[in-house]
C-alpha cells in the first residue's frame, strides 16, 4: 500500500491562511470568534487558525477544544475510547461565533456529534465548520463553510492527515 501525498507543508500553511481570511471576511459584526478543534488533529488546526487570525486582527480569536467521544452515534459499536480534554474559553460560548475545526470531513457524523456536544456548553450565535480536507461521501446533511482542499476519493481509499504537533510532519496523503 502506497500513500500518495496530496498536500505538503506549504500547501497546508497556504490553505489555513486562506481559510483564516475567509473566516474574518464572513464575520458579521464584532462578536467573539471561538475556534474549537475536535481532538486530536482538529485541536492543532484550531490553534494554528487562531494564531493566524490573531496576527491579522489581534485579540479577536479565542481557542479551545471540544471532545465529541461521548456524543458519537457509534459509541456502543466500537471499543471504548477514552475522551480527550474539552477546553472551553472561560467566557463560555454564549453569543459567540464558534468555528468548529477538524482535519477531515467525511460522513459528517463527527460534526453531528460535535454539534450535540456543543449544545451542552451553551448557545452560540452561529456555528461554522472549517476543515482541512473534504473528501465527500456525506451520510448526513452537513457541509463545511471553509475547506482547505476538496479531495474527491473513493470509499476504499484512506486519507491521512499528519500534523507536526501530533505526527512530527505536515502532510496530507491518500492511499488505496
Amino acid at each position: 500500500m502506497s500513500a500518495r501525498p496530496v498536500l505538503h507543508s506549504d500547501d497546508i500553511a497556504r490553505a489555513l491562511r486562506r481559510i483564516a481570511h475567509e473566516i474574518l471576511e464572513a464575520r458579521r459584526g464584532d462578536g467573539r470568534l471561538v475556534f474549537l478543534g475536535i481532538p486530536t488533529r482538529g485541536t492543532a488546526l484550531a490553534e494554528r487558525l487562531g494564531r493566524i487570525v490573531d496576527e491579522i486582527e489581534p485579540g479577536v480569536a479565542e481557542i479551545g477544544s471540544l471532545d465529541v467521544t461521548m456524543h458519537r452515534d457509534d459509541l456502543g459499536r466500537s471499543a471504548t475510547r477514552a475522551p480527550a480534554p474539552t477546553r472551553i474559553p472561560a467566557a463560555g460560548i454564549d453569543g459567540s461565533t464558534v468555528v468548529l475545526v477538524d482535519d477531515v470531513l467525511y460522513s459528517g457524523r463527527t460534526v453531528r456529534a460535535a454539534l450535540d456536544a456543543l449544545a451542552d456548553h451553551g448557545r452560540p450565535r452561529a456555528v461554522r465548520l472549517a476543515v482541512l480536507v473534504d473528501r465527500g461521501h456525506r451520510e448526513l446533511p452537513i457541509r463545511a463553510d471553509f475547506v482547505g482542499k476538496n479531495l474527491p476519493s473513493s470509499t476504499s481509499e484512506r486519507v491521512f492527515v499528519r500534523l507536526s504537533e501530533v505526527d512530527g510532519v505536515d502532510e496530507v496523503a491518500i492511499s488505496q
Binding site: 471504548t80 480527550a84 480534554p85 449544545a119 451542552d120
Partner: protein, 317 residues
C-alpha cells in the same frame, strides 16, 4: 475491560487511563449541562446486599450523569436474604436488561463470582465485597492524591514517589487492600500501620512497608496519611484492649497531626469516628481531603461505568 473487581487487575496504563477519564468527567461538573449521553439506552443495576447510602448514591449519580437507566435494588431484607441464591438474583436482573451490575455484598468474592461463574454476561463493578476490595474507593483516593499533588497538570501522570501511610484495621479493610495494590501499581510508596492483631496473614508479602507503631510510619514524612475506620466491635473480639489505648497508639491525635509536615494530606474513606481514629482538628483541616473524596467518587464512578459499559469489549490481540 469488562469488569472491575479488584485493583490487582489494573496495570499502570489502565489505572492512569481511568484517572484521566475521571478528569474529563470531573470537568463536566462545571458545565451548564452536566449530563452526558454516553450510556443512553444502557441499564445499570445497583445491587446492594449491604446498606451503604453513600456508595449507592455515588454510583446512582454517576450512572444518571451518563444518561443510563438506573435500577437500584436493595437486596437486604428481600427474598435474596431469605435464601434466593446469588445466581438466581443475578439472572433475574439480567433478564431485566442489565448491562452492568454494581454490586455491594457483605461476602468477599461475591462480585468475582457474579463475573466469573458463567451465570450471566453483564459487566460487574465491585462496590465493596466483604473484607476483600473496594476498587472504586481506591481509585478515587488515587485521583484525589494525584489532583492535590499535580493539580491541573495531572493528566497522564501516576503517583511515583508519593509516600502514603495507611493506618488501622488492615485485616478487615477492603479499602486498604484495594489501595495497596493500586497505589503500588501507580508507583507510590505504601506504608501500612496496624497492631499485629489487625494485620492480615501474608502482609509481609505485600508491596508495602509494615509498621506496628504509627509514630514510626509518620517519621517517614508522608505525603498523605489515610486513616481507616475502626469498628468498635473489634474491641469485643480482643483485637485491641480499649478505645482509649487504640486512639493513643494508632489514632491521628491533635499532637501527631501538628507534628506532620505542613503539606501532608489527611484522608479518610468515611464515615469517621472522631476522637477514636482521627482528631477533629485533623478531620476538619484544609489538609483533609474527606469532602473532595466524596466529590471525586462520582467522577471516578462515571469513568469506570463509561469504560466498562459504553463500548463493545475490546478484542485482545
Amino acid at each position: 475491560m469488562k469488569h472491575l473487581l479488584t485493583t490487582r487487575d489494573l496495570d499502570r496504563e489502565a489505572a492512569v487511563r481511568i484517572l484521566d477519564v475521571a478528569e474529563e468527567m470531573a470537568a463536566t461538573a462545571d458545565r451548564e449541562v452536566k449530563k452526558l449521553p454516553a450510556l443512553r439506552g444502557k441499564t445499570v443495576v445497583n445491587l446492594f446486599f449491604e446498606d451503604s447510602t453513600r456508595t449507592r448514591l455515588s454510583f446512582e449519580s454517576a450512572a444518571k450523569r451518563l444518561s443510563a437507566d438506573v435500577i437500584t435494588f436493595s437486596a437486604k431484607g428481600s427474598s435474596v436474604s431469605k435464601g434466593e441464591s446469588l445466581k438466581d438474583t443475578a439472572q433475574t436482573l439480567v433478564a431485566m436488561g442489565a448491562d452492568a451490575i454494581v454490586v455491594r455484598h457483605p461476602a468477599s468474592g461475591a462480585a468475582h463470582r457474579l463475573a466469573h461463574a458463567g451465570w450471566i454476561d453483564a459487566s460487574i463493578v465491585n462496590a465493596g465485597d466483604g473484607t476483600h476490595e473496594h476498587p472504586t474507593q481506591a481509585l478515587l483516593d488515587a485521583f484525589t492524591l494525584r489532583r492535590r499533588i499535580h493539580g491541573a497538570d495531572a493528566r497522564g501522570r501516576a503517583l511515583d514517589g508519593t509516600r502514603v501511610v495507611i493506618v488501622g484495621d488492615i485485616l478487615h479493610s477492603r479499602v486498604a487492600r484495594s489501595n495497596v495494590w493500586l497505589l503500588a501499581t501507580l508507583g507510590a510508596e505504601v506504608h501500612l500501620v496496624a497492631p499485629r492483631t489487625l494485620q492480615p496473614a501474608g502482609i509481609d508479602e505485600w508491596p508495602v512497608t509494615v509498621h506496628a507503631l504509627l509514630d514510626d510510619a509518620l517519621a517517614t514524612e508522608p505525603h498523605a496519611v489515610m486513616m481507616l475506620r475502626i469498628q468498635r466491635e473489634r474491641m469485643v473480639d480482643a483485637y485491641f484492649p480499649s478505645e482509649r489505648e487504640y486512639g493513643r497508639m494508632w489514632g491521628l491525635t491533635a499532637e501527631r497531626f501538628a507534628a506532620l509536615p505542613a503539606d501532608t494530606m489527611v484522608m479518610h474513606p468515611g464515615p469517621m469516628n472522631r476522637g477514636l481514629e482521627i482528631a477533629s482538628v485533623a478531620a476538619d483541616s484544609t489538609r483533609s481531603t474527606v469532602l473532595e473524596q466524596v466529590t471525586n467518587g462520582v467522577s471516578i464512578r462515571m469513568a469506570v461505568l463509561y469504560l466498562l459499559v459504553a463500548g463493545v469489549e475490546e478484542e485482545r490481540a
